[in-house]
């Protein structure tokens, strides 16, 4: 609920204490040397205990780790929404809606491929704003049109409805998925304005960075793959790094694109290491991880500048996401038999 006064003090105290229980970098180094079942055993002794125990009878190995991670993530992020009131709720929900986007995508894809509702259910991350009942009803539905109807009234209803035509024409899911992403990113900055100082200004700056990095990532991928796609249709508005025309121009020229990011005052210094690596080693994954690390570090700085604001919550959300991604990367990496160095390259470690 979004009624009532904002309560950043309460949420901050809880979030900071949960943040302290996240895995440290040494833990990752330990995990890298373990096999999937050992990782599961290790997690059982940490705060993932309950999830591992609940799912232990149904799954094993990497699946167990993955589902336990998702469930734990959903639990924590749901708590955030439950604790917060007023303005704070609004600010947190904006960001967590990305899990709604994920869930709706999973459901639509499930319906498209005629999957079993039970299978769809295990892939959901119930961390977003949509409540359990709505999600359960969505999973049981048989037609994509019914999904759109059920979502009527949420921020996704209208964009999805207007994308159905393109979907029915082509029979591909891409128009629907683009509509979802677009609805999410447009809502991210909606009616926040451009405040100049205080925690909210930094929150906006952070969200802009998120959009910028998403744009940069898409552009780099397009430039890399050489695919003949219109970059404009992937452009997300609201960032400060690119304008739509700049992006279309830069996608053709990989080096100019990297230069453009380096010249930007806001990100150039922070990402200088990553950018030089990107120029030499041609490793897009490394760059993406550097982006993630930069974003995370940035959120951390913000949370110490404005102790009782949404920044601390945001930095916790990012840190938790990173932890989940890292553990998943380790488990998957061990499963397919990557070496320790290779796995370490996949991790986002500060």
């Amino acid at each position: 609920m979004s009624a009532g006064a904002s309560n950043p003090e309460y949420v901050n105290a809880r979030v900071r204490s949960r943040r302290a229980t996240l895995f440290a970098d040494e833990d990752y180094r330990k995990l890298i040397r373990m096999g999937p079942s050992e990782i599961a055993r290790f997690m059982e002794e940490t705060e993932y205990e309950r999830e591992i125990n609940e799912l232990g009878t149904r799954f094993s190995g990497v699946d167990l780790i993955e589902y336990a991670l998702n469930r734990n993530l959903a639990k924590h992020f749901d708590d955030l929404l439950e604790w917060s009131n007023g303005r704070l709720y609004d600010l947190i929900a904006r960001y967590l809606r990305k899990f709604d986007v994920w869930n709706i995508k999973v459901i639509i894809r499930g319906i498209y491929t005629d999957s079993d509702p039970e299978e769809i259910r295990t892939d959901l991350i119930r961390a977003g704003e949509l409540d359990e009942r709505t999600i359960d009803r969505l999973v049981e539905v048989d037609e994509i049109d019914d999904v759109i109807e059920l979502l009527d009234g949420s921020i996704f209803g209208e964009p999805l409805a207007s994308a159905t035509e393109a979907f029915e024409e082509t029979g591909a899911l891409i128009p629907l998925e683009n509509a979802l992403d677009r609805a999410f990113y447009e809502n991210l900055l909606a009616d926040l304005g451009r405040p100049y100082e205080g925690p909210e200004a930094n929150y906006v700056e952070f969200l802009e960075a998120e959009i910028d990095f998403r744009n940069a990532r898409n552009a780099l991928r397009l430039a890399r793959s050489g695919a003949d796609l219109d970059p404009a249709s992937y452009y997300i508005e609201g960032g400060v790094l690119f304008s739509e025309s700049e992006l279309s121009r830069l996608v053709g020229d990989y080096d100019a694109l990297v230069d453009h990011i380096a010249e930007n005052g806001r990100y150039g210094d922070r990402l200088s290491d990553a950018l030089s690596r990107l120029r030499e080693a041609d490793s897009l994954i490394q760059f993406e991880h550097a982006l993630d690390a930069a974003l995370l570090e940035y959120a951390d700085t913000l949370s110490s500048i404005y102790p009782t604001s949404v920044s601390a919550v945001l930095s916790y959300i990012l840190a938790k996401e990173r932890e989940v991604e890292n553990i998943r990367a380790i488990a998957r990496g061990r499963e397919v038999g990557l070496s320790e160095d290779e796995i370490e390259e996949e991790l986002v470690i500060l």
């Binding site: 309460y10 105290a13 204490s17 949960r18 009782t308």
Partner: protein, 84 residues
């Protein structure tokens, strides 16, 4: 113009003539009251944070109570105003 100037002079006379517009005791009471309101506002935030931290079991209740009532010292200092 003339009447305006007279008015101003009269007002100045009036202010100089009467005693303080608020008695000493009343002023002290006002000071203590304001201090109490300030302390209450500070305790609101700290209390919320302490309850949050207690729910996560990251501090002991004793520390929590101590932190919550720290701003209360302001009110005790404000009591000094009563005795001057």
């Amino acid at each position: 113009m003339n009447s305006l100037a007279e008015n101003v002079v009269l007002q100045q006379d009036g202010a100089a003539g009467g005693g303080p517009s608020i008695e000493q005791g009343a002023a002290a009471a006002l000071g203590i009251g304001l201090a109490a309101i300030g302390a209450g506002y500070a305790e609101r935030g700290i209390g919320a944070a302490v309850v949050g931290a207690l729910a996560e079991d990251s501090i002991s209740p004793g520390i929590g109570i101590l932190l919550t009532v720290l701003p209360e010292t302001l009110v005790i200092f404000a009591l000094v105003a009563l005795f001057v």
